[in-house]
């Protein structure tokens, strides 16, 4: 017997009596919902250590420029812009100061935003850049992860939930923002069409 067959045989020999699959969807449908999605989301973002700014989508460049006054003197990558068309190795983003991309979903209860990684051309920049700015459309906010997964196709897109800048508390439980990944995360909540 190969390893696979022998593990299968061992499981069939050992497994306990059948336990029914709980009906998760009908249970979670009864959970209380936050009264104000945007406020709950903003509170969770702050708790996760990220900066939160908001404004109309048409003013996005101004919002970002205000968040990073010395913008323009830095290397920056804007996902989905013309500059993103060039083929670059994942390693080439090591010195990126600012990376900007847009999330397709945001979760009020924990402040996480969903980036469909396999659809991002510059996925390594999400983790390599010193500062990350993630744009979120207000219409993308859902109450909790239950609602979030109901509308995501994780198998098609792959992806990552990002909640705050990278951090560690491995030295004496002292929270340090900026572990191996970004040292800052800014969530820009936009309203209305572009």
């Amino acid at each position: 017997m190969n390893a696979r067959e022998s593990i299968m045989a061992a499981i069939r020999d050992a497994k306990p009596a059948d336990v029914a699959r709980p009906d998760v969807r009908s249970v979670v449908a009864r959970f209380p919902q936050p009264a104000n999605l945007k406020e709950t989301f903003a509170g969770s973002v702050a708790l996760a250590g990220a900066r939160f700014i908001e404004g109309p989508r048409s003013e996005l460049p101004r919002l970002i420029a205000a968040a990073y006054p010395d913008w323009g003197r830095r290397v920056s990558v804007m996902e989905a812009s013309d500059a993103a068309d060039e083929e670059r190795s994942p390693h080439s983003f090591a010195d990126t100061d600012v990376f900007i991309c847009e999330a397709t979903l945001a979760v009020a209860e924990n402040g996480a935003v969903w980036l469909p990684l396999s659809r991002l051309r510059h996925r390594s920049a999400v983790f390599l850049a010193t500062n990350v700015i993630i744009v979120v459309d207000r219409a993308c906010i859902v109450a909790d992860l239950h609602e979030g997964y109901a509308s995501l196709d994780v198998a098609r897109d792959g992806g990552v939930f990002v909640a705050g800048p990278s951090k560690t508390a491995d030295i004496e439980q002292a929270l340090v923002i900026g572990a191996h990944g970004p040292t800052s995360l800014t969530i820009v909540l936009v309203d209305g069409a572009g």
Partner: protein
């Protein structure tokens, strides 16, 4: 496979938890510091939990999802394998630590890999992967900061979520000064983290392969989920041309509806965060990358077959049972001599080697705090108690303990003897000098004052008070 057995991963000495705990307790200030650091995390968990009105329902759901999945583990693993394979993932199966290590080495060797970065994986600790690969000329760098610190110090993690929780920042500063060239005496965590960031960034960029652990494997989609705060797993995955993910077979869950339940519990229980910073869902390799997933048994099917213990496999490795355990907090993770310490480690590890780990089920007050905080409702205290009976039946307790318990059982079974001994003890406590009493009660009395004897027994008090004061037959 009929490959010859290699040396056991951990040295086959018997773990004496009480003796190791006594060594840890030689420095009372340090014990207090350790105790408070962990209690702080436990309080953060309490705070995060109270924000979620449906918390207890989530725990119930999580427990029943895991029990369901374990009861059909064969079906879900095959479902996972077939979906992952369809996604372009190479799935491997390993019966034990040795097979796991050989599979990982074979993948690395076939690509000529010399530089491997690893994110946190207690399974590879369990399998002894690092020494196995290092002996074969591969440079293995643990990239979780806590794991990197203990790796640099040639130690093992003392906690599954906070591997360096036993170390003071001054000790870490010494290690960094010696190995990373930081200024000696600079122990500010911000400066130390910055130094580690620079050091590890180079390793990420130079890595020829990345190995990660797995928090959840989704059977229906064939994907894996990896949770970190530091971003280290993602840097490895995003940069290296080969990604190997090692997982115990109990990590599989049915689908993403179930995943949501576990993710809402995991970080809140572990560190008090609402979610880890990065929750990565990996379903297929990047363009030009290879993705291998190694499914490991290593004793899990044996535990699955133990009627009193199979529910320990529900564990999602949040570490909450350690943070709350009065024994763990005051004895330190290394005193358990096992990859997974604390209450869950004391339930999992005796199943691997009963004689070696016979002392672990006794590293508990059976207070039940672990079971109360467990997000998947493992009956940890009941399982610890079950292991104690098995350990005693197998003859792995000292003669002194065996005889004491036997005498205790005899006395408690005979009310007259019990009452007589109670009177005799109260009298002795009043008459004899403290020094003699303390000597008789040793080692119990070493850290405790012998109590002042009550003037009468509880039964005598009850007869005199409770019954006589009963007003008109009430109560």
């Amino acid at each position: 496979m009929t490959a010859s057995r290699t040396l056991p991963v951990v040295e086959p000495t018997v773990v004496d938890h009480a003796a190791a705990a006594a060594r840890f307790n030689a420095n009372p200030e340090r014990v207090t510091w350790h105790d408070e650091a962990l209690w702080f995390v436990r309080e953060k968990r309490d705070h995060a939990m109270t924000d979620v009105a449906e918390w207890e329902t989530l725990r119930e759901l999580a427990s029943s999802i895991k029990e369901h999945t374990l009861s059909r583990l064969d079906e879900y693993l095959l479902m996972f394998e077939s979906a992952a394979t369809a996604n372009g993932v190479v799935v491997h199966w390993a019966r034990n630590a040795e097979e796991h290590n050989r599979i990982v080495h074979r993948i690395l060797e076939s690509h000529g890999v010399r530089k491997l970065v690893k994110s946190k994986s207690m399974l590879t600790e369990e399998c002894g992967l690092n020494p196995f690969l290092e002996a074969r000329g591969i440079d293995v760098v643990d990239t979780d900061l806590g794991e990197r610190i203990v790796q640099m110090r040639r130690e093992h993690p003392s906690h599954i979520v906070m591997p360096a929780i036993h170390l003071k920042k001054e000790e870490i500063a010494e290690t960094f000064a010696a190995q990373l060239g930081t200024e000696p005496g600079v122990s500010d965590p911000i400066a130390l983290v910055a130094a580690a960031r620079g050091h590890l960034r180079e390793r990420f960029l130079a890595a020829e392969a990345a190995l990660t652990g797995v928090n959840f494997a989704i059977a229906e989609t064939g994907g894996i989920v990896v949770c970190t705060n530091e971003g280290n797993a993602d840097l490895g995955i995003a940069l290296a041309p080969i990604h190997i993910a090692s997982m115990g077979i109990e990590k599989v869950i049915p689908g993403t509806a179930e995943l949501a339940v576990f993710l809402r519990l995991l970080a809140r229980s572990g560190t008090g965060q609402r979610l880890t910073v990065y929750t990565s869902h990996i379903h297929r390799p990047r363009e030009g990358q290879e993705l291998h997933i190694v499914l490991v048994d290593n004793g899990r099917t044996t535990q699955l077959g133990r009627a009193g213990f199979w529910r320990s496999l529900k564990c999602i490795r949040c570490g909450a049972c350690m943070n709350t355990c009065p024994v763990y907090r005051r004895s330190g993770g290394h005193s358990y001599g096992s990859t997974v310490p604390g209450p869950i480690g004391s339930v999992l590890t005796p199943g691997i080697d009963l004689e070696k780990y016979a002392s672990l089920p006794f590293a508990s007050t059976l207070c039940g705090s672990c079971s109360a905080v467990c997000p998947v409702k493992i009956d940890l205290d009941a399982q610890l108690y079950r292991w104690r009976q098995i350990v005693a039946d197998a003859g792995h307790v000292t003669a002194k303990k065996r005889h004491t318990v036997r005498i205790g059982a005899t006395v408690l079974a005979q009310p007259r003897v019990f009452a007589f001994l109670g009177r005799a003890t109260r009298l002795a406590l009043r008459m004899l000098p403290q020094s003699i009493v303390a000597a008789v009660a040793a080692p119990w009395s070493r850290d405790r004052d012998v109590p002042v004897p009550a003037p009468q027994s509880f039964r005598a008090w009850y007869k005199a008070n409770r019954i006589s004061r009963r007003p008109g037959g009430e109560q």
